[in-house]
């Protein structure tokens, strides 16, 4: 496993002659980015793209929250509200979180396994480039007649069949993003399976690579199903088919089954790479090897497999029979077991270590605490009888922001701070990083904790206006959202400040860090390992 890997020398000499051969450098200027076949450049592109989308999705969230500050319609009309909710969900999931972790995969996987680059460097860039037309389709749909898709990010028919051309733009965007994800995943799987340095057996892979290997499998298995769903939606909309129309013998609920067959694995696609990052950072700042490596691998795999048989927990109120409700309830509850194993392993990693609290570690601790809360509310929702009064309320909104924002997003922040010195050669300001953490932590909880109360009191989601009994907590939530939002602008400042004013980082700025990437100088050379290191 990671703690026993040692690079055998080559890395450093390569770093030297990397600079005197011009072919090894990047083409100058803008073309460097547009035509890149370098995993680090492409990783950077992914990360910046993801940040831009995060801001876009965040602005939508703030508009939503602004409208919900008090009862009544004041900021936006209901049509636009629904469009914002829909696009907020889509943009955050497909535009912000997923690309962020693909960015990590690009940067880290070749460095962690001792490979020169990704297996298919050109296709790697294609995976990124395809995100651009998809993003343009999504964002420009606000400006077409009828506006953007407005049936929620889950776009259930028949409502999505009613939608205007914005819905078609969303459908094609999903197609294109699906192609991007599939190619990206094929690339990652191939890289991990075929490009490991000699001696890097699978059971020595860094945990982050393991989680991505399994995530890539989930993506390849679930993305095409989503593509199938949107294709049928498209033909129902324009070519008179009846897949989701009872009048022709179809069923709107069939869409839900197909969507969630994709949708549930999708949430683990978001969560697993986050787990991977946390599994790298916690050992580094506990100065102790990751506890229970093998069981971590098995737990990750079990989560992935189980994730294909729990989908109907999103459909407990759709009218599925009792037997279905029971099966999916049991299966869903079961996922708590392997996830619990992961949580306990992280705790055991910290136990008896020598812990320090740099920013990446703080974000991981925030992750651990809040993700577990989100997992617990997931478990509450998994109990069918409890889900019935909570389904499609703000309780669900609270649940998934705990697992996705405090879970996935926080771990992405942890990863960015952790590898920032490796990527840029500069140290960020520890003080500013910590301010970002506390500011985010508090803002996050003010935003989303009250939403549990709203949900329990019966406030449905996806509404622009609400009854008076929901007033107070909505106001609190909105205040928190703006607080959390400004914290993210501050994050941008921390990063830019680090790039500009950061001190020179050493090859291994974290004394507890393990892994091949830390054997390379900071910033990492343009090509990582031209001759593979040997792993003992």
């Amino acid at each position: 496993m990671a703690s026993t890997t040692h690079a055998q020398g080559h890395a450093n000499d390569h770093a030297h002659h990397a600079h005197d051969d011009h072919h090894h450098g990047a083409p100058a200027g803008f073309m460097r980015w547009l035509t890149s076949t370098n995993h680090k450049d492409i990783g950077t592109l992914y990360l910046w793209f993801s940040f831009v989308m995060f801001i876009a999705g965040g602005i939508m969230a703030l508009l939503i929250r602004a409208e919900l500050f008090t009862p009544g319609l004041q900021v936006i009309e209901p049509e636009l509200f629904n469009q914002l909710t829909t696009l907020h969900g889509l943009v955050m999931i497909f535009g912000a979180i997923m690309p962020a972790f693909v960015g990590f995969a690009n940067w880290q996987i070749p460095m962690m396994i001792g490979a020169p680059d990704m297996a298919f460097a050109r296709m790697n860039n294609l995976s990124f480039m395809l995100l651009l037309p998809a993003a343009v389709l999504l964002m420009s749909s606000f400006f077409v007649p009828g506006g953007a898709a407005a049936a929620g990010w889950t776009f259930y028919p028949p409502l999505s069949v009613q939608g205007g051309m914005g819905t078609d733009m969303m459908i094609f965007a999903v197609h294109i993003m699906g192609a991007s994800s599939i190619m990206g995943s094929i690339n990652i799987i191939t890289t991990i399976l075929n490009m490991r340095a000699p001696g890097m057996t699978l059971m020595k892979l860094p945990m982050f690579c393991w989680t991505w290997l399994i995530t890539a499998f989930l993506l390849i298995a679930s993305m095409p199903v989503l593509a199938g769903a949107v294709t049928m939606l498209l033909t129902d909309r324009h070519f008179g088919t009846s897949f989701f129309n009872a009048a022709g013998g179809g069923d709107p609920v069939m869409f839900q089954h197909i969507f969630w067959f994709f949708g549930h694995p999708e949430v683990y696609i978001i969560a697993l790479p986050a787990f991977g990052v946390v599994s790298q950072v916690i050992p580094a700042f506990s100065r102790k090897p990751l506890f229970g490596y093998a069981s971590m691998v098995y737990a990750t795999a079990s989560i992935a497999i189980l994730s294909f048989i729990v989908w109907a927990h999103h459909m407990f109120t759709s009218g599925i029979p009792a037997a279905g409700q029971l099966f999916f309830m049991y299966a869903t509850m079961l996922i708590a077991v392997p996830t619990g194993v992961k949580v306990f392993n992280w705790l055991a990693t910290m136990w008896d270590g020598a812990i320090s609290f740099e920013t990446p570690m703080l974000f991981c601790l925030g992750f651990l605490f809040l993700f577990t809360m989100g997992g617990f509310t997931g478990l509450v929702l998994a109990l069918t009888p409890v889900d019935i009064p909570l389904h499609d309320t703000y309780y669900v909104v609270a649940h998934f922001h705990y697992v996705m924002v405090a879970g996935a997003l926080f771990s992405a922040f942890a990863g960015i701070y952790y590898w920032f010195p490796k990527w840029t050669g500069k140290m960020y300001s520890e003080k500013l990083g910590k301010i970002h953490f506390w500011w985010s932590l508090i803002g996050f909880n003010i935003t989303f904790f009250p939403q549990h109360f709203l949900g329990m009191a019966g406030m449905p989601r996806r509404i622009p206006d609400y009854a008076l009994q929901f007033t107070e907590w909505n106001a609190v939530s909105t205040v928190g959202a703006f607080m959390f939002g400004t914290a993210q602008i501050f994050f941008l400042f921390v990063i830019l400040h680090g790039l500009k004013n950061g001190s020179q980082a050493s090859a291994k700025p974290w004394d507890g860090a393990e892994g091949l990437e830390w054997t390379l100088p900071s910033p990492a050379p343009y090509h990582s390992f031209e001759t593979p290191p040997t792993i003992k």
Binding site: S3, F69, G72, E79, P145, G146, P158, Q162, G164, N245, A246, G248, D251, P252, V253, S286, K288, F291, G292, S295, T317, S318, G319, A322, M329, M333, L334, V337, G340, V341, N345, A348, M350, D352, G353, A354, F357, T372, M373, F376, L379, L383, T384, I388, P389, H391, D392, K434, W438, W439, I446, F453, M456, A457, G458, P460, P464, A467, A475, V479
Partner: protein, 393 residues
């Protein structure tokens, strides 16, 4: 740990700002922290199950994070200790796999019981058919032969903040569903256009209303009173504005109410009363509901193929009420040549008028309206090809 000191100032600032803003905002403080009080056994069961699982996760949470915080305070680098090197222990790994499993197993029992109870719609005392429309509810009292629509009553001025909001803001309807106390009421739930969900939190009922399918649900409320809920499934722009209000009356009051309703519907000839409203996914207009919409092929003024059915609904309505008049309005979108568009819309409306005249409606009962321009709607290109028939006010 000294670095954690940054937290208080940031936190304090946040809370101070928060408190101030919220004070300004709230006229009527609720600060609800829990479910609303259950009024059915089913809701009570859900409530109890929630309490049970909350205890379980609270205990686990405290245990797990007790360990974590202990570690964070004791096992720090700042304390100058040397980290341990262990990285494996099969015993504890097995323990923390097996124990959660059994905890979950224990939770599964009461949950299973509640699932089965929830699905048991047998032996109902009465049945009401519930139909979701964009954006109102239809209630058909199948055995009593009448039905009605139930729509938001809150005035638009309150929604637009031009007038103070009344305490029932957004939770008030013109015709609430009425049921007798102490009786098991079975609901047959469906929809006419898109998916809605009939959600009554205090009853413990949430059931999607899926067009073309009937799902059932049930409840039994023992205490008379007025209860509220909302449509819970996103269903278009007025999803927030289709509340559910259920009046639970004592059996005597209920019987009186039924009698009144029957009389009312008998007087109205009551085509819509005798037959429950049929929800057909494929028709855009239902017999009970204005506006009737006719969608034309693009550029064409010929009546669409399904026009007959929709027109019949309009004709029926006119025949039922000798005083009623209809407004015909054509719609256009804002793209292309405005004059041509308007001409097209007018001709379409004319085609509809001719068809209605043919069906025996006097011309003076049909008002032609100015074409209306659509700028943004859920489906502009389709919606802009319609002629709408409304009852004149």
């Amino acid at each position: 740990m000294s670095r954690l000191k940054l937290a208080p100032p940031v936190g304090l600032a946040g809370f101070a700002g928060l408190a101030g803003l919220v004070m300004m905002n709230s006229a009527h403080a609720d600060w609800m922290l829990n479910f609303r009080k259950p009024v059915t056994d089913m809701a009570q069961m859900q409530y109890d199950l929630h309490v049970a699982i909350m205890w379980v996760i609270t205990v686990i949470f405290i245990a797990v994070f007790g360990v974590m915080f202990y570690s964070l305070f004791k096992h720090t680098k700042a304390s100058g200790r040397k980290p341990a090197t262990f990285s494996d222990s099969h015993t504890v790994e097995i323990i923390w796999t097996v124990i959660p499993f059994f905890i979950l197993l224990a939770m599964a029992f009461p949950a299973t019981k509640a699932v089965l109870a929830n699905k048991d719609t047998s032996n109902a005392d009465m049945t009401i058919k519930v139909t979701g429309y964009q954006w109102k509810w239809g209630y058909d009292y199948i055995h009593d032969g009448f039905g009605f629509l139930s729509q938001l009553k809150t005035p638009i001025t309150e929604i637009k903040n031009e007038q103070a909001k009344n305490p029932d803001y957004l939770l008030e309807v013109d015709n609430p569903m009425v049921v007798p106390a102490g009786k098991k009421v079975r609901l047959l739930i469906t929809a006419a256009d898109v998916i809605h969900a009939w959600y009554m939190p205090t009853f413990g009922v949430q059931q999607d209303a899926t067009p073309g399918f009937i799902n059932d649900a049930w409840f039994q409320v023992d205490k008379p009173g007025r209860y509220t809920g909302q449509c819970a499934k996103i269903c278009g722009k007025e999803h927030a504005f289709m509340p559910i209000v259920v009046d639970v009356k004592s059996p005597e009051d209920y019987a009186k109410w039924v009698k009144e309703q029957k009389a009312k519907y008998a007087a109205k000839d009551g085509k819509e009363g005798k037959e429950p409203v049929v929800a057909a996914a494929a028709t855009s207009a239902s017999a009970a509901a204005f506006p009737v919409k006719l969608y034309f092929a693009s550029g064409k003024t010929e009546l669409p193929a399904d026009a007959e059915k929709s027109l019949a609904a309009a004709v029926d309505a006119l025949k039922a009420d000798a005083k009623a008049k209809l407004d015909l309005s054509g719609y256009v979108d804002a793209t292309g040549n405005a004059d041509q568009n308007a001409e097209l819309a007018k001709n379409r409306a004319k085609a509809v008028r001719e068809a209605l005249k043919k069906a025996g409606i006097a011309e003076d009962r049909l008002n032609m309206k100015k074409p209306e321009v659509i700028t943004a709607s859920a489906d502009a290109s389709k919606e802009a090809r319609r002629v709408e028939i409304n009852l004149s006010k």
